[in-house]
């Protein structure tokens, strides 16, 4: 439910942007546990608050201020959500100014993850805009002494057609600010045909700043008197400093201080990792000083972790019965009947985020308060962890959110901001902590390594008479609970619990795995490995059955139906089933569209070429992907063409959405070609782009066609859903081209590059 208050006379103004007398609307929403809605099972604190707040101010000169409370990391969310508000307000986009919110719970959830910014705040933005428009019309009507019903708006003006009068929003702002806020049921929302911006989109609000180098990322934040810090972290998770010698480091020109940072108390959550910090006059001096530190480490129990041995353990576990998450019929009886049976082990290693901007944060502790400037996806988590680390109230932690030089989930975890805060308190000055690329790769919260075991028996028609899928991965919950080993519901749901096929006998299981590194969300998260396992195994079955991959996939998806999750722990990404049912018809439709658009079965393929297909729903969006590859005699893989069809409900910003899916294909290319983090004696082996390569311009799809389904369904996610089906379709295409079935990523393991 929501409440709206006219807060013109309160001190809610951010940054002094709004002149006195301006109309300010605070729209406050509270998490809505709908009656009859079994949701949500997701108890993650960052998802738990569903009370977005929108601040809208209209100045007397007609400037419309919209506060963006979500973090901009390249998805264009800082533009797209304000567009929704501006549309209902009927505002002139050229007169809109966007301000970035600080971290504050009055804005509701600010954790910009899970591809849910538009989904969660679309209604709130519309309501805020419609409310303001209602009040501006009322103000004009009173001014002209005419019925409000005779007035309407037209691009930043209220007009009264019978008398041909009109007034700019700026001229009405003061009068509107004195009116009481209308009830929600009295609001009039625009019809789809009246939309100016939603569905048409706009370029990023920051575009000019980005191409001129003026945009301020976390790396670019500066305040007077600041010093720079670089931190040597324990190489093994949970390790600590036994001893260190600061003498050599202090001799480096520009180095001011060497300071130890306490190790975290398990579980790690978002605490600083601990280690030794070098404080210097510039970043370079801090890096140089760090090289001279002579540290002896106590590595702790994770010292025995070896990713090779760990992989064997995961695979063994995946072969044993696990916890049942969902099922139907009698799988064991069906398997016992024999027939053609296939088994496969699928594996995806740990993956690092490698955002182009490494972790960085500037923090200033002064007069008992901490101010941070940080590229964070979650400024309220910054408040939480800094408050705990420094022992000050949350309200005394002010987190300014800069632009993010990529996030991909890594910057939802503010350990690096906490590090800057702790150091600023110790140093007594503003401190900017700069992680090197090596720090970024070695001290990530990695996407979980996963082993999956799949088994199916085929009937005479080639359809599975029984289907078993079992995944094993160290859960993200392990960073909050040292004993967590089973997959948690919010991540099992990601392409595993909701295997969508229309099958008589199936069973979905999960086995235990203990984490030895920090596990965290990475773009698409568990969907990456789950879609890889399910969609590639489907392709294996199609070939075993002698069927066309597309026909077989459509056959398994079955006729359009709503999947019944009664009695199943399936949180549907925190969304209601009423608004976001799992509709196999929509998955079917995108599959049919991508097949048609890509010319499936009709394209002439040359020697070494192959096409693969995959379909997957994640973050409530339905996506199907066709990838064409060409593999030469040396095993070099080109990607001449990719087609993607997506149904994300209402799409606010189509151009930005296309860009997200183009980018998803590149992100997926990195995963398939080269994504692999390994560890020896508990320490990560990779360090920079030479041993954790990501895709370059000459390695990516040469053409990516994104087909957006026109839909009136409520908006779903667009940042993440493109990745999972791309990975699977890419590997299926490699099989079609080479006969090599990729079950173990990355493809370098198969002599492919």
């Amino acid at each position: 439910m929501s409440t709206i208050e006219n807060v013109s006379r309160r001190g809610f103004l951010t940054g002094g942007i709004i002149a006195a007398g301006a109309l300010v609307l605070g729209v406050r929403y509270y998490r809505n546990h709908l009656a009859g809605d079994e949701l949500p099972h997701d108890t993650n604190a960052d998802h738990a608050t569903f009370r977005p707040a929108v601040y809208l101010g209209i100045d007397r000169d007609g400037t419309v201020w919209i506060v963006a409370h979500r973090s901009e990391m390249g998805t264009t969310i800082r533009t797209s959500l304000p567009l929704v508000l501006a549309d209902e307000l009927d505002a002139d986009w050229n007169r809109v100014k966007i301000e970035q919110a600080i971290g504050d719970k009055r804005y509701g959830d600010q954790n910009t993850d899970g591809s849910h910014s538009v989904r969660s705040f679309y209604a709130a933005m519309r309501e805020a805009g419609a409310t303001a428009r209602f009040m501006l019309i009322q103000a004009a009507a009173e001014k002209w002494a005419v019925p409000a019903t005779e007035c309407r708006t037209d691009l930043h003006t209220v007009v009264h057609p019978p008398s041909n009068r009109k007034a700019d929003y700026g001229d009405l702002a003061s009068a509107a600010s004195k009116l009481s806020v209308p009830k929600k049921e009295d609001l009039k929302f625009k019809s789809k045909k009246e939309w100016r911006y939603v569905g048409k989109g706009a370029p990023s609000y920051d575009l000019a700043a980005l191409v001129t180098g003026k945009a301020v990322f976390g790396m670019d934040a500066r305040v007077d008197g600041m010093v720079y810090a670089s931190v040597e972290h324990p190489p093994v998770l949970g390790g600590q400093v036994k001893s260190f010698d600061e003498k050599e480091a202090l001799r480096v020109a520009g180095v001011r201080q060497v300071l130890p940072i306490d190790p975290f108390k398990p579980p790690p959550a978002f605490q600083p990792l601990g280690g030794v910090a070098v404080i210097a006059d510039n970043t370079w001096a801090a890096f140089q000083g760090r090289k001279k530190l002579n540290i002896t480490w106590e590595n702790g129990p994770n010292e025995t972790y070896d990713s090779g041995a760990y992989k064997k353990e995961l695979v063994e576990t995946s072969r044993k019965p696990g916890k049942i998450v969902r099922g139907a019929g009698d799988v064991d009886a069906a398997f016992a009947k024999g027939g053609k049976t296939l088994e496969a082990d699928y594996y995806v290693p740990l993956l690092a985020h490698a955002s182009m901007e490494p972790m960085v944060a500037l923090a200033e502790f002064k007069n008992g308060k901490l101010t941070a400037w940080a590229p964070t996806q979650n400024p309220q988590a910054v408040q939480d962890i800094v408050s705990r680390e420094l022992g000050i109230p949350k309200e005394d932690v002010i987190c300014h959110v800069t632009l993010l030089g990529g996030g991909f989930g890594r910057k939802s975890k503010p350990d690096y901001v906490a590090e800057a805060a702790v150091l600023s308190k110790k140093v007594g000055r503003p401190v900017k902590v700069v992680w090197t690329r090596e720090d970024d790769i070695k001290f990530d919260y990695y996407n979980a390594v996963a082993a999956m075991y799949l088994k199916a028996s085929l009937g005479a028609d080639g359809r599975p008479t029984a289907w078993l899928q079992r995944s094993v991965f160290p859960p993200i919950t392990s960073i909050f609970d040292v004993n967590a080993v089973y997959g948690d519901t919010p991540h099992l749901q990601q392409g595993w619990t909701d295997m969508p096929y229309d099958l008589q006998n199936f069973r979905i299981e999960n086995g235990p795995a203990k984490a030895h590194v920090r596990i965290g969300w990475l773009r698409s998260v568990a969907n990456i490995y789950h879609a890889f396992g399910v969609q590639c195994f489907t392709d294996e079955l199609a070939h075993a059955a002698g069927r066309d991959s597309l026909d077989y996939l459509l056959d398994l998806i079955g006729q359009p139906r709503i999947i019944d999750f009664k009695g199943v722990d399936y949180p549907n990404y925190g969304a209601s089933f009423a608004s976001y049912p799992w509709d196999t018809g929509r998955l079917r439709r995108v599959t049919e569209i991508v097949a048609e658009k890509s010319g499936w079965g009709k394209r002439k393929l040359t020697k070494g070429s192959g096409v693969g297909i995959a379909a997957h729903r994640s973050f409530l969006t339905y996506v199907a992907t066709v990838v064409e590859v060409q593999v030469d005699d040396h095993g070099h893989v080109r990607i001449p063409r990719v087609d993607m069809a997506l149904d994300a409900g209402v799409v606010v910003n189509p151009e930005a959405t296309r860009a997200q899916f183009e980018g998803a294909a590149v992100f997926g290319t990195s995963i398939v070609r080269s994504g692999e983090i390994t560890a020896s004696k508990g320490a990560i082996n990779q360090s920079n782009f030479q041993d954790y390569p990501v895709a370059r311009i000459n390695e990516v799809p040469e053409q990516t066609n994104v087909h957006i389904v026109d839909s009136d369904d409520p908006p779903a996610g667009v940042g993440e859903p493109g990745v999972p089906p791309f990975v699977a379709a890419f590997c299926n295409a490699i099989y079609a081209a080479t006969g090599k079935r990729v079950r173990d990523l990355p493809i370098s393991k198969y002599g492919l590059s």
Binding site: L403, A695, I697
Partner: protein, 151 residues
């Protein structure tokens, strides 16, 4: 004391001659348009022009820059925007945008030497510049658009 020219202004530097140009630009001069991405010339985020050549500022040392003319994004075009910047806007290239300054500096240098670059030329010139958001298709299109404008 090292004398060099940055964006048309004479500068002198008397700090650690081993310091890479990147940190001089960012931390000393406050020219933060040039980005730190990897520190070892593997990603191209720090690309600037040194005497017109695309250069990875994270590895070139101050001691090697005496008498050089350095151009950063802040000095790429004094009046308005360079054709690559215009093309970057027209094609909506940036997502997060962090790597794009380096991409544009690399592209501008490419277009200095090749007026009408082929796809192969673009691959050769641009494959040292990583974009993790995956804007490569648009980068390619924008380079071609800029080449047309400059023709």
């Amino acid at each position: 004391m090292i004398q060099l020219n940055v964006n048309g202004e004479q500068r002198s530097f008397d700090g650690d001659p081993e310091m890479p140009l990147l940190w001089y630009l960012r931390d000393v001069l406050g020219l933060t348009g040039t980005k730190f991405g990897c520190g070892v010339a593997l990603c191209g985020a720090c690309t600037v022009h040194a005497d017109g050549q695309a250069t990875r500022s994270c590895i070139v040392r101050m001691r090697d820059l005496a008498g050089k003319n350095i151009t950063t994004i802040e000095g790429l075009e004094r009046n308005g925007m360079h054709p690559v910047q215009k093309a970057w806007m027209q094609i909506n290239v940036p997502q997060c945008g962090y790597c794009q300054v380096g991409q544009m500096m690399q592209a501008a240098a490419l277009l200095q030497s090749k007026k009408n670059p082929s796809d192969r030329d673009i691959d050769d010139a641009m494959s040292g510049n990583i974009c993790r958001c995956g804007t490569y298709g648009r980068i390619r299109a924008a380079i071609k658009a800029a080449a047309e404008e400059m023709a």
